[in-house]
Assembly symmetry: C2
Homo-oligomer: 360 residues x 2
């Protein structure tokens, strides 16, 4: 059985880990919040499961636990932020706050970030805008696992996008998705269960189709959203490319195949074209377009109409983006967070290494 942990215990442990690698109290809180939100929202691949990986990158001196995050260029509606090799979990909320502050001043704010690291779930950062009656946008590039249409080389990361839009009585619309047919996390689940992947998710080293969930270890690649050219994989490639260019070519980070890997056992490319990995954030004040109440009432109407649509047999309702994560969140807030046994083992070792008490 999968062991279940309370939110408070997980929070306390993650906080101590970040403190013991040298993060300030404030940064440790921020990073813990991002990780915890992933576990709460059911995106298990991006929560505590990643904690020991961040520590290993810090040990390898590829993560700076005391970054001096700087705005290196700005206009009234834009900024470029240098993350000083900090945890993306800390750099991203910092940058999103700048976007929000600019939106307060001139209607919208757009921040490109270089010299950062893995930023956790995109959803956390976009959703920061909601409480300000703003739309939030976040995206990040990542090390190359994805082959563009017709390519056998991996040139893009799974490059997720999240758009968070507030409503009134309805919960917010939160679309948070990798720009691939399937996120890497879904593949990892199949690997753990020793199962095949559906056709259209991955390709072999030579570009031919594969259903082997371990194909990436053999030089294969994930496929952009669309699965193949006939079903629009060139559009998924467009999306992934868009995220890469906004996150890294605008900011001065590494792009395409030059993005450094998230794991400490793989070395970053020897010929970088920029600094670290890149993100891109946006905040748009609703009332820079129309009164916020009016907009949010129409969002309620939009969400209700779509949720109440007539469905195919066997499906109770149309799923509004953000519904599954919100349901997971309210369930796990009460019942606790299940952590995979391998993750628990990994965290116990981490506790030992850092001389911390494990949460049990």
């Amino acid at each position: 059985m999968t062991p279940v942990f309370s939110c408070a215990r997980i929070r306390a442990f993650a906080f101590e880990v970040f403190r013991s690698i040298g993060c300030t109290e404030a940064d440790a809180h921020t990073a813990t919040n991002v990780l915890l939100q992933a576990d709460l929202r059911g995106i298990d691949s991006h929560g505590l499961a990643r904690l020991s990986g961040y520590v290993r990158l810090w040990e390898a001196k590829r993560v700076n636990s005391t970054p001096v995050i700087k705005t290196v260029h700005e206009t009234p509606s834009t900024a470029v932020v240098d993350g000083d090799r900090g945890l993306g979990l800390v750099v991203a909320p910092h940058a999103m706050n700048i976007a929000i502050a600019k939106a307060k001043q001139v209607g919208t704010g757009w921040v490109a970030v270089k010299n950062s690291n893995h930023f956790g779930i995109a959803g956390h950062h976009s959703m920061m805008a909601l409480q300000h009656d703003m739309i939030g946008i976040s995206m990040t590039n990542a090390s190359a696992l994805v082959a563009p249409t017709y390519s056998v080389e991996r040139l893009l990361g799974t490059n997720p996008i999240c758009v968070a839009i507030p409503a009134h009585e309805q919960p917010p619309f939160v679309a948070d998705f990798a720009t691939t047919t399937a996120a890497n996390g879904k593949l990892e689940i199949l690997q753990r269960k020793n199962k095949d992947a559906p056709a259209g998710w991955i390709q072999k080293k030579d570009g031919s189709p594969s259903i082997n969930a371990n194909e990436l270890k053999e030089g294969g690649a994930l496929i952009p959203l669309g699965s193949d050219f006939e079903h629009g994989s060139h559009k998924g490639f467009c999306l992934g490319a868009w995220v890469d260019i906004f996150s890294a070519v605008l900011s001065g980070a590494n792009y395409g195949p030059w993005v450094p890997p998230f794991v400490s056992f793989l070395a970053p490319p020897a010929d970088p074209v920029g600094e670290g990995i890149g993100h891109f954030f946006g905040a748009m004040r609703i009332d820079a377009f129309r009164p916020a109440e009016e907009f949010k009432h129409h969002m309620d109407n939009w969400i209700k109409r779509f949720r109440e649509a007539k469905t195919v047999e066997g499906q109770p309702r149309v799923i509004i983006p953000g519904d599954p994560e919100r349901e997971a969140e309210s369930r796990r807030m009460k019942e606790g967070i299940p952590l995979n046994e391998k993750v628990v083992e990994d965290l116990q070792q981490l506790a030992q290494k850092l001389n911390l008490a494990w949460i049990n």
Copy 2:
């Protein structure tokens, strides 16, 4: 054989048509340019093939040929534009110019448009930003032909997005795509040829899969990018929803199933939730982030690296977004524009109706 017409002749004819429904000289030029660019770039479904449809909407008093386009709300980086029921072909460039002007002032400009009509190819409007060393973004909603994942009802249009990004020596990156597995234009081509559609493009009235290219006439629907849930159609739904909300809920246009149809023989919904159809435009000044030359040199590097990637057998190269359209454009500029026989027949009837000389 498909008859071929020179660019100049098509331009002159379209201009006269717009003039004879009452457009000013300037508006007729603008609208003609947008249509012509579609034909030049090989997006035949959005060029002269649509001209008689615009005239029919004007006859039905659903298009205002002499609109007074107004900015009804603005901040330094945003505006909402009321298109006054004008041709989208005219309203969209007007709105994009506002976005560009705002970007000049504060770094970026974002314009939501209501009370508009079909705006032609998204690419035209985004590409207006390129000559200013800006990134251009355009999107529009459209009448509902697409069923969200698990829905049997059509609730979204094909809702295209275009992102245009300048480079230095390389041609610009121009990703212009419907957020469905296949654009409706591709389905129309199969209908004309009496051919089946690939599995995953369309569904029947009850939501079950179909390969009948005429299924939409029987109450079927197009499917969001991804084809089915297992292959990420919920992500395509997120994209289409994003476009719908930015274009219409932000601006005050109709959204979802309330978007009025583009054809005069289908009445608009009797219970509108806004005015006309909606668009959304963005312009981001490159040097609001980093020096434009520096950015454009990195874009050259990005494009070259992707174009030169090792490919699957039988495919000479990875296609950079914008390559096929640009190649069509340079070919058709020289050789002329082929128009389908049915389109020619339709235009001849239009010439007769408006008492204009046909181009032959």
